[in-house]
Structure formats: structure tokens, C-alpha cells
Symmetry: C2
């Protein structure tokens, strides 16, 4: 059983298969009976809860409150903003009827044709339209601004090719929707939330990100500017981990949301929206995990420390239990989540493998000899290093170790990214380098045509124009035309 | 403006209209553009967050973990459990298509007829079917049991007559779904969760409830037994505030979920499900609020204390601010949520009215004279009593007062319920008494026919057979047949 648990495809053999197996073996999620929709299992959901709690605290610390808007959106709302409908009104779930009835010709139930809706409803793929239709009634004067609201919700996009966490038809996310009196304030909000996302990614997920702005082609449908955090996965592909949009006055105009300014003149409201989703869990997995399973940064690990007793007799088991109790209590008093797994129906070897696959950052094991010698075995999941240490002072040691692991994971990921970020000057070189994966910094003439050509010929896209990137001008690697600055390319998820 | 805020319909004039106005004026929720769906505004959602956090802690303390299952359910799943489909497959939102396309004959988008689903999908009205279809793969042996899972989610039931919080097409809720090896264990789980709900209602919502079991007619579709908590609103109508179902082996049989028991023989799994929803907010409003607006129990109030400065000059404002800062800090250090509202664009009178309508439990006001005399004005929302007290020691006084308010609200509601719970022996008396509202304890012969007749003739339903009720036998008030015990009747929401 222990062997089976750890019997993974290796990352170097087939990264994609390794990922799919890991999601299942670490008990994070599984495919459901509904096409493209996953079931998030308790262990996977516990990671999401930790992410949510932290992000929610950060949103509240920056002045936002939560609210809840309807799941269903009238079809006509999607058409109000011209670009938005292009981007979102295509592949979506459409509610056309509101009643089932007994099948008159056999078993089961059928859709009642008499219960057809006058106007079809769409399951929200994102909520700008329904929210701005609501904001219209909330905003009258500059005194009502800014409006800083976030929503935790499920959304639905009928994706053709899905992968658990990375791209699913239904997913969980948060979407912030803010309204401002001035262009500058809305811009600043969009940038602020980008930094909130980046801080969360780096400090909690231990996942280094490049903060940047999207090219026009890659912008959110309806935005004037899309800010993004881009992370590099172990296989050299980029993952867009969060986006923050400056929407200008597009939605205010589409839904006629005006306010009276201090001079008592009507103006359209300025908007932002920003979101991260359960996709972050995919990023977390692909940033840190190894051929032995999941590796979790301590700050997001549902179980930070597991303690496993190794005993032969019931008496030993009892004795170990007594020894462990004060350690558990001390760790918990320090805010650490500990599991003491003395379940009798699984052997230590199985437990070791299971918690390794599940990525528990620190494992403590205590056997008969440890009892005699006043020691305990300590294993850190990130390096798999084991050592036998004194029982005395173990809680403090674990606290320090958890900090070390958090920092080590970030540094390791950062080094991997640095080693896989290259600067390239010619298109030939680019074509060769892109095959190796990684981020490539290159000059581009700024046109959608060149961008499209690069994508078609190399499958690489412009991930972003890094905010703190090199602003030295040059010439486009493809066309030789002037380039204002290097931009960041990669193949991506 | 202050006047307008408080210009309510009185409860005694029109309770239903008072409720609807209050929901809007206290900024809790509003109707959305989608029929029967509400927007939960930040202040209303903040109450829901407090409820969620507390309930979630209580679920975890009783061994449950959270997970997430798909929003959409294949139509055929609903038909698997014969009674369940009767109860839930009627009024629901049906997804029939997965794509829109540009309207070939004009503006906007239309449903693409080529994108019709082979099998329609239903937006979950409740998740037993999709969850038991999933549990089938999770449960093989007695070692996999019990499975104790909860989900926080949105659900959808196409209700014809909706009222904000009390009955909406989409609502937010939690649904626990547990699987057990034995009948007794599942029964005990259903009862345990009933008590968790009751404790939450009484200790946090300050809403007294009767714990009981439903008659067969009022059972959840597919359950063997439904436990309920029933509260009495100020207008004498009952509110079913939470239910916990013992599902027997019905869903295990419908989805073929068997486990190998300790004797290595296959058995069907025993199940429970249990849920409370945003309807609780409706109950909270109708239990405590008065003609001046919302009254919130301190434990669920998003703002527990508001402090309002009363000043004429900027200097006074500054001086008051300095005086207030350490009070705010001290209250926060005691875990109390405080708002110091020194906004310049609203007058104290407006603020007073606004926080009164919003039900903030304690209001402190500080003016120039208070500065001189070292005093502060204190108002408690539950009784509207005002007093001027020493500034010295104000934080401790507020802490004590919040406890008093919490307790006072519960006792007041309990007295109101006791005053409106009557015992009745004849059907004539029953018909007269039911017009006055309230709970009525009466004998019933235990048949669905008599129950149906009472409902038709008096609009009263059996709310429950109270768990700790009087078990003395008697004769049915309607038919004169033997009755095992008195049951609880009321008209209800």
C-alpha cells in the first residue's frame, strides 16, 4: 500500500501525468460525474480555506468588504459591454427552463416545455455585468465612492480541455469589483491589488512571481489595462496566477453608472476588478512538489506537523502517547496545527508514505528507543532530511524549522526561476530557447500582428511587460522595428 | 434624512411590510435584476460571515471537514431516489445549452441550437444525489467510515413567492453529508447536529428554539426522520430555522454505496444530511428587531460598538479623537469590533439614526461637555436606554454591557415565546387560538389525513413533535381518536 501510494510517474518522464496522479494520490481532488467539473476533496479544500482566510484578511486590511451577487445573469446583460461579450458570452452554461416534470413516456423526469424562460439566464462566467447593473442603484454622489467590494463565489466557463485546479468548467474564486471617482484612484487600486496578490503568492505560497502588465491582446475583455502575476512552473511553463484589471469607464458607460462630483456635475464612475481562483492550488502543486508527492509551504499546510508513534505493545503505545501529549499541546499553543496519528489500523510505513505524499512539512516519529534515550526523529518534507534530536525543546525547534522550510521553498523556487529566465536577441535564438522552457526576455515591436506570429510559430505568448523590468529600448527580434523595452515570453498553462 | 431612515411601517400596522422595509433600510439586501434572487449587501453579508465562522468552528469541533461538490447535477441523478425526485425535481433551474452565438438576425447574442446538451444539468437544489454518487468511490470498507463532510455553497430552487432571506430562489447555505457504518451512529449524528444548530441559535442568535422531530408529511424528501429547530417570530408565526435528516440507507441504495463490514460482508451505508441557510438572517431580524430598525445580538453584530464624536470646531474634533483612540484600542484588544465614525459629511443626528436602524448594540457619544467632565454618553440598542457614565473604566463597562444585551435579548425572546405558547384541547378552541398566532400544543391522532385537514381548515401545520415535550397520551382534538402525545402547531413562514 505504501509502495502503491508513492508509485508515481516521475516529473522528468511526463510532467503532466505526474501532476494528474499527484492531485489524486494526495487526495486533493477528483473528476466528478459532470464534464469538466471536479470534486474538491477535504484535504484540497483545507488548502483553499487557508488561502481564503489569508487573502480575505488582506482584502479587509485594504478596506474591502464582502457581498454576494446572483449566480445567474440575464443574457442581455452580457451584450452591454461590446468587448466583454466577445470574451465571455461564448462558452457558457445557459439556463433555459425552470421546471422538470414526470416523463409522460416512461421513467424519470423531462424538461417541461411549458416552463421556458422568456429571457435565458447565464451562469456567471464573471460578475462585472450583474454587479455594475447593481452599482447603478448604489452610486449617486461622490460621497458613495469609493465602493470597495469583494465576492467569494463559484463561476462557470464551458471549457473544452480541462485539468484539475488549472482549468475547470466550474471553479471557486474571489472577484473584487471597485468603483472610484477618479481615473488615478482606480488605477492605483488595480495596482494595489496586484501587489496584494504578489505578496500572498510570495509570502504564503512561497511562489515567486513576476508583476507586470498584459499586452493589449492578452487583456481581460472590457479592460483598459490588465495587471498580472506570472509564476514559472517546474516544467518551464508559465502560470498566470492572478489578474487585476483597470476597467476605465467601460462598465459604467455600459450600465449608465454616473455620480455627481463635488462640483455637482455628473461623471461616469471608474472601475477595477481583480480575481484569483482555485487555480492557485495548481500553481502551488507545480511550484514545490517532487517525485515523492506534494510539498506544501508551512503557511498553507492544513497539517503542519504530524507525529507518528512506533510501537509494538499496547504499553509502548500508551507510553508514547503520554510523552507526545505535552508536545502536541505546546505546538498548538504556538498556533501550529498538529496531528498525532496513533491510528491502529495502519502501519508506520504506510503513514510515513501517506504524509509524505500529502506534503506535510514536518514529521516527528517516536519509538521505544527514543523513549529510553529522550530523543525523537524529525523529518523535513522539503529536503527529506532526517535527524534524531533531543525531545527536550522539540517544540521550539519545530517552530524554527517551519520558518526555515517556508523560506527554503521560496528561495529554491526563486533560484529555479532565475536559472530559467534568459535574455534573447534574435528570433532564431528565441525559437531554440523556447523549446527549453522558461521565461524569455526579448524585444517586441509592440504590435498584435507580431505577437500573433510569435504565438503561432512558437506557441509562446507575451506573459507580461514586467513592472520593474528593463526599460532600455532596442529592436524587435522578429521585425527589426523599434522596441520600447523587453517583454516576458513563455509557453503557458 | 435621519427622519426618512427611521420612517418605518410599524410592526403592529403591517409586519410583513415592516420586514421588507427593514431589510432595505438597514442595508442588508435588495432585490436583484434576476427574479427571486437577492443581492446580499456588505452589511448583511458581514452578519452571514459571522454566522459562518461560528458554525464552521462548531462543525469542525464535532469532527467535520469541508469539501466542494459540483454546482450542476445530471438530470438523471435526481430520479434515482424515488421520494427525493418528488420533492426536488420540480421547480429547478435547468441548463440545456453550453454556448451562445451572435444573433444572426440582429443585436446581442442568442442560444446556439447546435450546443444542446445530451443530458440536461440541474443547478443543485440540494446535493444528496451528486454527493452520494461521489461517496460510492470513497467508501469501500468500514475503515472508510464515518465520513463527516460539510459543504458551504449556493443552491437554487425556483420559488414562486420569494421574500428576502426567508425564501429566495438562490440562497447560501451549508449542507452536511455524513456516512456511517450503523443505523445508531447515523441517528446519533443527526441528533447531534440538531443540537449544534439549537446551541448556535440560542447562544449566538439569542433566538430560543424548540427542538423536535417532523411529522412524516413534513419530512425531507428521502429521509426516514427529519429533526428541526423551530423559532417563534414576533408576529406569532413559526420559522423552521434548521433541519437535520436521518436518511437511513435510501441514498446508499439509490447510488449503490456499500461497504465491507468487520465481518467482511457488504452492507449499505447509513446517511445523514443537515443544513442551515441565509434564512437564519431572516429569523434573526424577526426575533429581535423593533419599530426603530434592526436589533442585533452582540455575538453576531458586525459592528458591536460605534463611537460618535459631537463637535463644533476642528479643535474639538481633534481633542475628542485623542480621547477616543485609547478606548478604541482597549476595546479591540478585548476582541470587540468598534467603529469610530468621525466622518465629516454626516451630522451626529444622522449617524445616531443610521446605527440605530443598523442595530449596533452599543453607541457611545462624546461631546465638548463630556471632555470637560470626564464622561461619555452610552446607549444600548436593545432597550434604547441612555446614560452618561464616567469615561474612566468605559471599556470594561462596555464588555459587561454587551454580555447583558446578549442575555437580555435571549430572555426577552424566550418570554415572548412562552407567552405565546398555549395548550389547547378542542378543535374549536384551536381554530380560535390559531388566529392569535403563536405555538399551540394539541393532541393529534397521528394520521396524515387529520394533519392535512387541519392545515386546510386553519393554515396551521405541525411544526414538530418536541424532543422534550409532554408525552402524556390523550385524544385527538379533531377526530377524538387516541393520541400518543401533544404536538406543536403553528402557522409558519
Amino acid at each position: 500500500m505504501a509502495k502503491e501510494l508513492k508509485n508515481f510517474t516521475k516529473r522528468s518522464d511526463n510532467y503532466s501525468q505526474w501532476y494528474n496522479e499527484l492531485v489524486v494520490k494526495a487526495d486533493l481532488a477528483e473528476q466528478s460525474a459532470v464534464r469538466g467539473c471536479m470534486v474538491i476533496k477535504p484535504y484540497g479544500y483545507a488548502i483553499w480555506e487557508k488561502m481564503q482566510r489569508q487573502l480575505d484578511d488582506m482584502f479587509k486590511a485594504t478596506g474591502h468588504t464582502n457581498a454576494y451577487f446572483p449566480l445567474l445573469i440575464p443574457k442581455s446583460f452580457l451584450s452591454r459591454e461590446a468587448e466583454h461579450v466577445e470574451g465571455f458570452a461564448k462558452e457558457c452554461a445557459v439556463v433555459t427552463h425552470y421546471r422538470l416534470k414526470k416523463n409522460p413516456e416512461g421513467d424519470g423526469v423531462v424538461v417541461d416545455p411549458a416552463a421556458r424562460l422568456e429571457e435565458e439566464l447565464i451562469i456567471r462566467p464573471t460578475s462585472e455585468t450583474i454587479i455594475w447593473n447593481t452599482y447603478k442603484n448604489w452610486i449617486h454622489s461622490y460621497r458613495d465612492l469609493p465602493l470597495l467590494i469583494n465576492q467569494w463565489a463559484n463561476v462557470f466557463r464551458w471549457e473544452m480541455r480541462t485539468r484539475m485546479f488549472l482549468r475547470t468548467a466550474e471553479f471557486l474564486w474571489q472577484e473584487g469589483h471597485t468603483a472610484h471617482a477618479t481615473r488615478d484612484e482606480a488605477q492605483a487600486e488595480a495596482v494595489q491589488m496586484l501587489h496584494v496578490y504578489a505578496d500572498f503568492a510570495e509570502k504564503y505560497m512561497a511562489m515567486p512571481v513576476v508583476r507586470g502588465v498584459k499586452s493589449a491582446t492578452e487583456r481581460f475583455a472590457g479592460a483598459l489595462e490588465t495587471y498580472t502575476i506570472e509564476a514559472l512552473m517546474q516544467d518551464g511553463k508559465a502560470l498566470q496566477a492572478g489578474t487585476s484589471h483597470f476597467l476605465g469607464q467601460n462598465f459604467a458607460k455600459a450600465f449608465d453608472v454616473q455620480f455627481m462630483n463635488k462640483e455637482n456635475k455628473p461623471e461616469y464612475v471608474w472601475a477595477t476588478s481583480w480575481g484569483v481562483s482555485t487555480r492557485l492550488i495548481g500553481g502551488l502543486i507545480m511550484t514545490h512538489s517532487d517525485d515523492n508527492g506534494l510539498v506544501l509551504p508551512p503557511k498553507l499546510a492544513p497539517i503542519q506537523v504530524v507525529i507518528i508513534p512506533i510501537y509494538k505493545t499496547e504499553e509502548q503505545r500508551k507510553e508514547i502517547g503520554e510523552k507526545v501529549a505535552p508536545i502536541v499541546a505546546e505546538l498548538r499553543s504556538k498556533g501550529i496545527s498538529v496531528k498525532f496519528d496513533d491510528a491502529d489500523n495502519k502501519r508506520p510505513g504506510f503513514k510515513f508514505a501517506d504524509y509524505e505524499v500529502k506534503g506535510v512539512p514536518v514529521r516527528l516519529a517516536l519509538g521505544a528507543r527514543d523513549l529510553e534515550e529522550g530523543t525523537i526523529e524529525l523529518m523535513r518534507r522539503d529536503t527529506l532530511e532526517k535527524e534524531t534530536v533531543p525531545l527536550e525543546g522539540i517544540a521550539d525547534r519545530v517552530v524554527g524549522l517551519l520558518d526555515d522550510i517556508q523560506e527554503n521553498l521560496f528561495q529554491k523556487a526563486l533560484k529555479a526561476r532565475e536559472a530559467n529566465t534568459r535574455t534573447v536577441d534574435t528570433y532564431d535564438e528565441f525559437k531554440k530557447e523556447i523549446e527549453k522552457g522558461g521565461f524569455i526576455l526579448a524585444h517586441w515591436d509592440g504590435t498584435p500582428e507580431t505577437e500573433a506570429r510569435i504565438k503561432e510559430e512558437t506557441k509562446a505568448t507575451i506573459r507580461c511587460l514586467p513592472l520593474d523590468g528593463d526599460l532600455t529600448p532596442g529592436v524587435c527580434m522578429v521585425t527589426g522595428k523599434p522596441s520600447a523595452r523587453r517583454v516576458l515570453f513563455a509557453r503557458n498553462y
